[in-house]
Symmetry: D3
Subunit: 282 residues, 6 copies
């Protein structure tokens, strides 16, 4: 199948079962325009339903940045949401209705990464601020370079408009005191601190080695039963959002269909033979 192309995103297939999504606007530090974040669900919904894809690596082109976040210059043209004309805000309730629709749409686009049925491994390097954090907390694993520079930027632009970070970050790391610190001060933090609090999985010396590790982990996931992998991703996100009793019930009901698959005997035979199993598409 000829790969689809998208503006400002490069999607490649470096090896069987694995897709590599790159944000491709390096001359602007991969900052996001509205066109770009509205493209996100197109990219990830396609991969979500593509049976030849089992794991996804998500990184940024160029050496300087995973992403510098929202492109503020583009977002601030007169008449836009961030720079409304006086008549836009003349009636605050009507402007609020416009803000809500905009926010729902923006959130939904970013959430498409989390909604993707396949695991997403995010590689963060260089400048990784603002919307870079919003995106990364929707991914399943986060791998970073030693030179990465993180920052939750909301307070620096005077708004608390939550696209993803403020809702998900408290559920992604264990120290609530740390979450409040970085969100309320917008201070920069680096790779070592991110690893210590559990925000990232591992640190690598360069973008190349970090991407290489992401590919290795993606390869491990791709070698497993896709029925099992997709169910586990779904279960962990469900468990994050529900109590234990509801979690157990949901997994039991889900599995009533999911265990009825040839992947189980295939996996078991491979275990006994100490061979790598080979599973059908999903």
């Amino acid at each position: 199948m000829a790969a689809k192309t998208y503006n400002n995103f490069t999607v490649s297939r470096p090896q069987e079962w694995i897709a590599h999504v790159e944000i491709n606007r390096p001359e602007k530090l991969n900052a996001f325009t509205e066109e770009m974040w509205t493209t996100l669900p197109t990219v990830f919904d396609d991969l979500s339903e593509d049976p030849t894809v089992r794991a996804i690596v998500f990184s940024g082109a160029g050496e300087k940045a995973f992403s510098a976040g929202l492109d503020l210059a583009a977002a601030s043209v007169p008449g836009s949401f961030f720079n409304p004309e006086p008549e836009d805000v003349a009636d605050a309730a009507r402007f609020a209705a416009r803000v809500r629709r905009f926010a729902y749409k923006f959130q939904d686009c970013v959430s498409s990464i989390e909604r993707c049925e396949k695991p997403v491994i995010c590689v963060l390097h260089g400048v990784s601020i603002g919307m870079a954090i919003d995106i990364s907390v929707c991914a399943d694993l986060r791998i970073c370079t030693s030179d990465v520079s993180f920052s939750v930027k909301e307070v620096d632009v005077g708004i608390a408009s939550d696209v993803s970070t403020l809702t998900r970050l408290p559920k992604v790391v264990g120290s609530y005191a740390w979450v409040k610190d970085v969100c309320l001060t917008a201070r920069t933090f680096g790779a070592e601190e991110a690893l210590r609090v559990g925000f990232v999985n591992s640190i690598f010396p360069s973008k190349a080695t970090a991407v290489q590790e992401a590919m290795r982990v993606a390869g491990v996931m791709a070698s497993k039963s896709p029925v099992a992998i997709q169910a586990i991703k779904e279960f962990l996100d469900w468990s994050r959002d529900h109590d234990v009793a509801t979690g157990l019930k949901y997994t039991a009901v889900y599995n009533a269909a999911a265990v009825n698959t040839k992947d189980v005997p295939t996996a078991m035979a491979a275990l006994r033979a100490r061979k790598v199993p080979r599973f059908e598409k999903l």
Copy 2:
């Protein structure tokens, strides 16, 4: 405005936008009497609505203790809740009704710290046990001294009466095994362990340097848009208590009003000019 005064609490204004609350009963290691904990909401509700306050540092007077917790001697006079007369407990159901009302009131007083609209940075030094933990888990950030001595004391007084700790601590740090350990054994733990599990943000060699750091962080928060800071505090606490979908919806609705403010152009202009922005009261 002349500062209000409170028994056993000193509230000062060390710099613009910042309030400093000190528990001021050092001769009793800042142990809490009933009069003191019923004063807590007065102090924090005042600060919550005071537009000249943007961040709060909360510490204990004297060198020995942030607080030794509840003043057990005061709490145990005959006829009191902790030392009831036989006729008080003659009908267990009626005594239970009295206990419930007492517990709701006690919990509500301590929760006033969390309910405060402005960020609260708690500085913990020396003896910081029992109710000191109940209070600190209501604060947003926790900074401690290297000589701090923490302990969750419920099991040592034979009651599990939860004022705050047993409900909030599992949501404040990541290791549930550690939470169960310190709550079920009442063992003492120190600064390094507290930092490792994410209970505190940072450690300083003395109370003076810890308070200094708290002032610095409070200063950073106070320099940001108060609209954004107060919204972020609200969002993070909401997200702790709700699933992701409900979290995203709530922030979108809240921001429909909150983004419609002069703080946004003020912050953006300051970003471009690399200057410190100046925001109106809130």
Copy 3:
């Protein structure tokens, strides 16, 4: 009272108030047969209501393994759930009904460890994979040896059938990225990593020293008021599953009965006299 005996489980009383449960099938690395996991609730329900027990140490016999998980050979006999005959799966909806009933029962058996009213300290050594993780996340504390080898095995057997781990692990440690890593790759991890992410409380050089530590901690818990200890275990599990407001209300209502006990004056008198208190059975 003569101790009850169970197939493949040894229950002893190494000291007053403490029970020691050992999985006793070392020749099969303590792998679980269906008979064994259906015995779990018998063991733990008995201990839960036994007033002479205040804390439980749970470990595996032999030097090689806490448990190698489910006994796949036993689980895979023809006609069994893991190896159904063609007629069993001829109607997928009817097979699904059978899977649901099986899963509910399996989950309920493992959950009996969490449901036990007394604290359970799990000692993990050597091979501790698959169902070993399912069990350990139901315990309150986890102590391991330096040679332990952990793995969440679902993806390696091609199923995501969650008995306990996928639902509880996201609530047991703080780093969600780490949870997704170990669950989606089935990779092995050791003691140091488990301590760093907060999965275990502590590491000891040998099974003997780890069990000794578990006994020491169990002894500390057993020396406290059983009214307080059992309430705290209940509160922490409730808080994990509910928001803060619901948590505070529940503890207030629960304590309306629980504080009305002689344990409170007993504990307070002991505190004043600096003696070890002595509490009645519960």
Copy 4:
């Protein structure tokens, strides 16, 4: 005890154990000023903790109205919340913060009726619109006259500011289609329709007979064990807001204290003797 007095509310004790609260501003159809709704919690918190009160009848003075709702004239003075000066709304985010505080306070005052530990029977007659509905849905029973005229008024004043009705009405009656009809059209509805959809318990030809019936029902409640009555009110409100499993657990925990009372043998002896039991204060 001399009854406390309140502006615009008359609280009397028509018979043992029963309090009668009357809104007393008949010349203005019992319309509510801000001073009046801020008085509500004072009235109902007092009765909630008064052990000589077991049931409360709540009605409006005069023949024309239970209440015409919020006093719009009083609420609309310049500079007030409903009629802000231009500088009040100059920054929409800051005005929104003021609205939120105002709304929380207003809601909390009305909710004091629901929070009251004793059952509240509301008698609705004549004009019963706007805030009359907000209040009545916080009561436990609703008795009306045949001439009553109900209306949910929000849409007619151009705001959807929910003090109580929009949140509670969907939980008070069964037909969701009817709730949407009356809330989205602000149409008037009468006694028969209110009875048919389950909004009111019963209809009486006059205010005098309706109050008489409320007194009779209050008398029945007051003759029962106050431990049981207060627990049941609490359980039903809890069940409305929680799922069945959480409901059952909560009632079991609550009752662990509540059944340990002399009211049980007193009630049982009375049942056997077919006499009216006599219970202690609560």
Copy 5:
């Protein structure tokens, strides 16, 4: 298969696919002893898993009563839960622990009726008070006779110990005001009122005709696909306890297995041929 027999319960098979459970202690108005309510889960768990059963009719033997509720005489022997010895209640916290265990067990026994995978149609006649209501709100349909006499009895025995009614009744009928009335006054209500508020489905002139109608409805249910019937019962109970988004997701996941059945083509072919379909056991 020879039908199992149970003390005080008669289980018969009046026609294919239908089981009839009768409470059989008419000389005591089918009042429940502890032995009887602990037998309930045995009866209903057996029927739940019996593939030859598709619908259940539940009624009471004799002409006078479905059930007069808990057998208070049996429940009040000295040393029992309802009539404890002084030493039982000497420590209120320890007695509370005993109450909680008792309540959990009692609730769980009654809930077995709701948990049963097959629809349960309850026929209520004559005296149907106290525990009769607890039981009936666990059934799916309720059919009554015109002479039925209902009463929620908790307040008359001085306890609010909720076995089922106080938690489920607010979810079973629409008028919350009516629920509070009958629960807070313990007044008797009859068939017409029960039908008007939606508590019962229909009224028949005699027990014989009511049972006949229950059999007819059970026959309709038994003629449908058991896969569909059991899923629908499960969905409706899940929807009662969850929000709409969670409800939709759960049904989608459940059906992923449930639609993969020969019952679908069987049902569709029958629809086209206007014949009665014939489904396999489940």
Copy 6:
């Protein structure tokens, strides 16, 4: 603006502010093909954001049916979801993944009616079964003709695949016993029964008079402040899905923006002048 056209749906503007959507496939009793239900969100998302629309009437073309539900013939072509080829179901887990995606999409299309920001009034006449019920429970009001024939059809096609009804119906009417009856038997019910249980708002003798009434009610809603109307619809749906405390908080936060509108003084002035107010678009 030229009205958009849609296959099988006619959208007209019978009067200012009101849109009329007609299902237009009368020759097939307005049965739904996949193309038709995938068109639903297009129709309702357009109307949701169209500022010239304030209320929507939704009815079916022709005299015989609002809708006969899903077009089973179209849905059952070989290889389709309802009639899969053997290879489609060869691996039950993979078929289940396909079912889930299909169900999510189907549910989302129908939910677009509920998600629409403007009130939707559904007019049901003649045959109104299966998917007609799924659709109607997403509408805000339901008006029917006296000849309407309703039926929840899932059990008759052998599947419980819930598109909307099984999740929403228990929240739409008060009698849970009635919901279980009609869902578990698929029996037909008519207008009078639907009115008695609160399923419909009102009954009219013909489709013409029913549509006329729907237009009249839509006109009333359209004459009110659109800020208030849209907020109330949102609040009522939120309240259905959340507890009272969460409901009150949400409405307070939402209104912080929504009350800041010229609609408030416009509405108040109109009230005083007893004139019809005129509001700006939203």
